[in-house]
C-alpha cells in the first residue's frame, strides 16, 4: 500500500520536545495539589512540613532514579528496594568493622553495582524477561539479607558520616542537596551523554537501535549496573539518615519508587521519560500521602491510593501516547 505525501502535522508538539511538555503538565498537577492541600489543611504550608515533604520525595527519588533508566529501555527493576536493603546492611557492617566510612560507601556502591550486573546478565544473556528476573532477584536478595542480618540490626555510625542523611547545610536538609546532585547527574547521563541517547533509542525501538549500530546488549547491561549503583548510593543515604540498617528497610521502598517513575511520565514501553519527571512523580505521590496524613486519613488507605494512582497514571500515559 503506498502512501501519498502527507502534509506533516504542525502542532506545539513539533516545536518543543514532547518530554518537556509532559513534565510541565505534571508540575502543574503538583502545583494544583499543593494549592488544594494548603486550602484543606492549615499545617501544610509550615516550613517543617514542606521540608519533610521534600526530604521524603528526595528519598523516594534516589531509589527511583536508577529505576528510571531501566524503564527507559522498556525494562523493569523490581529488586531496587531489596538492593538498597542489602547494600545498606553490608555497608553498615563494614563501617562498624573497619571504622572507615569511606570503605562503607565503597561497599554500598560495589554491592549495588554487582547486583545490577547480575540483573543485566539475566536479562540479556539469559534472555529472562526483566520483570521476572528482577522479581526473582528481589526475593533472593531479601532472603540473603534476612539470613545475613539474622534478625539483628547494625546502628550507630560516626557523626561525620551521618551528616549525609540528617545534617543541615544552610538551613536545608542535606538530602535536598543530594537530590540536586542526583538530578543533575541523572539528567546529564540521560540527556547529555552518548550512552543516554542510545538508551532512549533502545527503549523507543530495540530492533531499529540494533540495526542502527548501537551495541544493545552492552548498553542494557550498563543500564542495570548504573541502576544498581544508584541504589547502592541511595542505601548510603538511608544508612546515614536512619543511623541504622536492618533487613526489612527495603520492603516498602520498591512500590513507591515504581509509582514515582510511572507517575512521572516514564513509559513502560520505553523511550519516553525524564529524570526530572520521575522527581515530579515522587513529589506528587509524596504530596498526596502527606496530605492524607495531615487530613488524618487512616494510614491503611495509603497502599490503595498508591495503587490507584499508578493505574491511573499509566492509563493516562497510554492515552497520551496514542495521540502522537
Amino acid at each position: 500500500m503506498t502512501d501519498v505525501t502527507k502534509p506533516a502535522l504542525a502542532s506545539p508538539r513539533a516545536f518543543v520536545s514532547e518530554d518537556v511538555i509532559q513534565v510541565f503538565y505534571r508540575l502543574l498537577a503538583a502545583l494544583v495539589i499543593c494549592v488544594v492541600l494548603s486550602l484543606l489543611s492549615g499545617s501544610f504550608l509550615h516550613l517543617a512540613n514542606i521540608l519533610n515533604v521534600l526530604r521524603q520525595a528526595s528519598l523516594m527519588f534516589f531509589i527511583a532514579s536508577g529505576l528510571t533508566l531501566v524503564v527507559l529501555t522498556a525494562g523493569l527493576d523490581l529488586s531496587v528496594g531489596a538492593n538498597v536493603a542489602i547494600s545498606a546492611c553490608l555497608a553498615g557492617t563494614v563501617i562498624h568493622q573497619t571504622g572507615s566510612p569511606t570503605l562503607g560507601v565503597l561497599t554500598g556502591l560495589v554491592a549495588g553495582g554487582v547486583i545490577g550486573l547480575l540483573n543485566g546478565v539475566m536479562v540479556t544473556a539469559l534472555r529472562i524477561p526483566s520483570f521476572i528476573a528482577t522479581y526473582g532477584m528481589l526475593w533472593v536478595l531479601n532472603g540473603l539479607t534476612y539470613w545475613y542480618m539474622a534478625g539483628g540490626i547494625v546502628h550507630g555510625f560516626p557523626p561525620g558520616f551521618r551528616q549525609i542523611g540528617s545534617g543541615y547545610l544552610f538551613g536545608l536538609p542535606t538530602p535536598v542537596y543530594l537530590l540536586g546532585a542526583f538530578l543533575a547527574i541523572g539528567t546529564i547521563f540521560a540527556q547529555r551523554t552518548v550512552w543516554g541517547q542510545q538508551i532512549y533509542a533502545i527503549g523507543a525501538n530495540p530492533v531499529a537501535a540494533r540495526l542502527s549500530g548501537i551495541p544493545v546488549t552492552r548498553r542494557l547491561i550498563m543500564v542495570y549496573v548504573v541502576s544498581g549503583i544508584m541504589a547502592g548510593l541511595a542505601s548510603i543515604i538511608f544508612l546515614a539518615r536512619l543511623n541504622s540498617a536492618e533487613a526489612d528497610i527495603g520492603e516498602s521502598l520498591t512500590l513507591p519508587a515504581i509509582a514515582a517513575v510511572l507517575i512521572g511520565g516514564t513509559s513502560l514501553f520505553g523511550g519516553v521519560g525524564t529524570m526530572f519527571g520521575t522527581f515530579v512523580g515522587a513529589l506528587i505521590l509524596t504530596l498526596v500521602l502527606n496530605g492524607m496524613n495531615l487530613l488524618q486519613v487512616n494510614a491503611n488507605w495509603q497502599p490503595l491510593v498508591t495503587g490507584v494512582i499508578v493505574v491511573l497514571a499509566v492509563w493516562l500515559d497510554m492515552k497520551m501516547r496514542r495521540r502522537t
Binding site: T2, T5, K6, S17, A201
Partner: protein, 512 residues
C-alpha cells in the same frame, strides 16, 4: 460435509455449465495506487486455475477481495451464475471460499483436531464442553478425505510447515470449501512433500473443488494448471491453457510493459576499487554459497522473487543474522560480528520495513538522524544537543526532508520522507556502503525519483550501493550490475548490457 460425485476431468470445462465462481470488472483502489483494475476471472469446479504475476501485480489484493478481507470498489461476484456479495469473511465462508495464506492461522499448542474445528467444536453433554470423541472422529474423517495420514491428537507446533499447510487445507475442507485459494503452497516444501500436495490437489479436483493457485514456478504452472491467468499492474493481461503458450511467452506477458520512468543515472566509465567482497556465505536463515562483489561507484542490484533469500543475504552481510560459514571482506579487512561493528566500519542498512526496523517512530526527526552517528560525532561521550541539531538541520536541508521542524515525531512524516531520514542517518554516520532493501516500497512516484537521484549522488562521490528491489524496471534502470537469487542461492550475474527485465524474471523463476 458432502462428497460431490467425481467429475470427469475432460468434461469439466464445458462452456455450457456456468462457472462455479466468477468475478466481473473488480476494481480496488488505495490512495495512490490501483491494486485491481477491472479484473474479470472465473473458475469452474474441479479445475486448477493458475494465477501469475509479479510482486505487486494484484494477486494478493485479489485474494483478499475473494476472502472478504478487502471490499471491492467496483465489480460484481457471481456464484453459480447468481449475483452475490462479499462484504466480510463470513460471506466468503458461506460461499465456500477458503484462502490458505502463507502465514497460518493455527494455534500452536492445540492439536490438529482442535485447530481444524476452532470455534466450531462439537458440543458435549454438559453445556460448554467439547465432545472429544466426535471431534477426533470428525477430524480423522476430514484428514482421510485429503489423504493426510496423521494422528489428530498431535499438537500443531510439532508439525513441519508442509504438515501445517495440510492442516490448514483440512480446516478449509471441513468448512465445505468449494473454492480453495492457495498462495505459493510449494514455496516451503521439499520435493517429496510437493508430490503429496499435488496428489491431494488431484483428489480435491476429482471432488469438484476449484483451486486458485498462485505460483511463480513455471514447472508446476504447466504441469498442474488447467488454465492460467496473468495479472500485471492490477489488470488481467490474458488467460490461456498450458498448451497454448511457452514459458517464454508467459514471462513476456508477466513482465512486458512500456517502461516510462526517468531515473537519471551517471554510470561510471571504469569501476572503482572493490569495497565489499563476500565469499561462500551461508547462514541458518537459508542462504548458501553466496559470492558477490561491490565496487566503489557502483549500484549493484540483488534480484529474485520474494522468499529467494535476498533480505537474508544483506542481513548476514550487515551482521544482523549469524553466519554459518563464509567470509566478508570490507575495504580490505575481514569483518565479523554484529551490526554495531558493521556500522562502525562503514556499512549501512536501510531495511525493508523502515517503520519497524529503521526508525523509532515516536522519536523526533532530529533524534533519528543522529542515532547512528553518535559515537562518531561525539567521541568523548558527551552529547551536545546543539551540535546534533545543526547536523540534523543540515541533513534535512541537504535531503530536502519535508518536516516543519526537526522536533517533529518521525512517525508523522510521509513514507518518502521517512526513507530519507533513514538514509540521512547513515550519511551522518559516514557510511561507505549503503545496503538498500526495497528502498522505494510504499513511496509515491515523485519521492521515488528523488531517492534514486540521491543514491546516484552518493555513489558518484565514491560510495557504493547494494540494492534489493522487486521492481525489475528500477533495477534495470539504475544498477550497474545485478545478481539474481533463487531459493537461497545466487543463480546468475547480469552485466549492464544483459540487464533486462526478462532476463531477471527468467533467471528468478525457472525451476529446474
Amino acid at each position: 460435509m458432502s462428497l460431490a460425485l467425481p467429475v470427469d476431468e475432460a468434461a469439466q470445462v464445458s462452456a455450457a455449465a456456468p462457472p462455479l465462481f466468477e468475478l466481473r470488472g473488480i476494481s480496488k483502489e488505495f490512495p495512490g495506487v490501483k491494486a485491481l483494475d477491472d479484473v474479470s476471472f472465473a473458475v469452474w469446479p474441479g479445475e486448477v486455475h493458475m494465477l501469475l504475476g509479479e510482486n505487486g501485480a494484484g494477486k494478493s489484493s485479489l485474494m483478499k477481495v475473494l476472502c472478504g478481507a478487502y471490499r471491492a470498489d467496483a465489480g460484481e461476484f457471481f456464484y453459480k451464475g447468481e449475483k452475490v456479495a462479499i462484504h466480510s469473511s463470513a460471506d466468503a465462508q458461506r460461499l465456500g471460499i477458503a484462502v490458505i495464506f502463507q502465514e497460518f492461522s493455527l494455534v500452536p499448542f492445540l492439536d490438529i483436531a482442535q485447530n481444524i474445528f476452532l470455534g466450531r467444536e462439537p458440543a458435549g453433554f454438559i453445556p460448554g464442553s467439547v465432545d472429544r470423541r466426535k471431534l477426533l472422529a470428525d477430524a480423522k474423517r476430514v484428514l482421510d478425505m485429503i489423504g493426510f495420514d496423521i494422528d489428530p491428537t498431535v499438537t500443531v507446533d510439532k508439525l513441519g510447515v508442509a504438515q501445517q499447510q495440510m492442516v490448514e487445507i483440512a480446516k478449509a475442507i471441513s468448512q465445505n470449501a468449494r473454492i480453495l485459494v492457495m498462495d505459493e503452497p510449494t514455496a516451503a516444501l521439499s520435493d517429496h512433500e510437493t508430490e503429496l500436495l499435488f496428489a491431494l490437489i488431484k483428489r480435491l479436483k476429482a471432488e469438484g473443488v476449484a483451486i486458485i493457485y498462485i505460483s511463480h514456478r513455471m514447472a508446476e504452472v504447466f504441469s498442474m494448471g488447467d488454465r492460467i491467468t496473468v495479472l500485471r499492474d492490477g489488470r488481467r493481461i490474458g488467460e490461456l491453457r498450458p498448451g497454448e503458450a511457452s514459458p517464454d511467452q508467459l514471462v513476456r506477458m508477466i513482465v512486458g510493459r512500456s517502461v516510462d520512468m526517468s531515473y537519471p543515472r551517471n554510470f561510471a566509465a571504469t569501476p572503482g576499487k572493490v569495497l565489499l567482497e563476500v565469499k561462500g556465505l551461508s547462514a541458518s536463515t537459508g542462504i548458501a554459497d553466496i559470492d558477490l562483489v561491490v565496487r566503489e561507484g557502483e549500484i549493484v542490484g540483488l534480484c529474485g522473487l520474494v522468499g529467494s533469500g535476498r533480505s537474508e543475504v544483506v542481513r548476514a552481510i550487515f551482521g544482523a543474522d549469524k553466519i554459518m560459514s563464509g567470509e566478508i571482506v570490507f575495504d580490505g579487512r575481514a569483518i565479523s560480528g554484529g551490526p554495531d561493528e558493521a556500522a562502525r566500519r562503514g556499512l549501512a542498512l536501510i531495511p525493508e520495513s523502515r517503520k519497524s526496523e529503521g526508525l523509532a517512530l515516536l522519536r523526533s526527526v532530529g533524534d533519528n538522524l543522529v542515532v547512528s552517528a553518535l559515537a562518531r560525532l561525539f567521541p568523548a561521550g558527551l552529547f551536545d544537543p546543539r551540535r546534533a541539531q545543526r547536523v540534523a538541520d543540515g541533513l534535512v536541508q541537504q535531503l530536502r526532508i519535508a518536516t516543519p521542524t526537526t522536533k517533529q515525531a518521525v512517525g508523522l512524516l510521509s513514507g518518502g520522507n521517512q526513507q530519507k531520514v533513514v538514509i540521512g542517518k547513515w550519511l551522518a554516520a559516514g557510511a561507505k556502503l549503503f545496503i538498500f532493501d526495497e528502498p522505494t516500497r510504499g513511496i509515491d512516484v515523485g519521492a521515488k525519483s528523488e531517492i534514486f537521484a540521491l543514491i546516484d549522488r552518493l555513489v558518484t562521490k565514491g560510495a557504493a550501493a547494494l540494492m534489493i528491489s522487486s521492481e525489475q524496471a528500477e533495477i534495470c534502470h539504475v544498477c550497474d550490475r545485478a545478481y539474481v537469487m533463487r531459493e537461497g542461492r545466487i543463480v546468475g550475474e547480469l552485466s549492464r548490457s544483459e540487464l533486462t527485465e526478462e532476463n531477471i524474471v527468467r533467471l528468478g523463476m525457472h525451476h529446474e
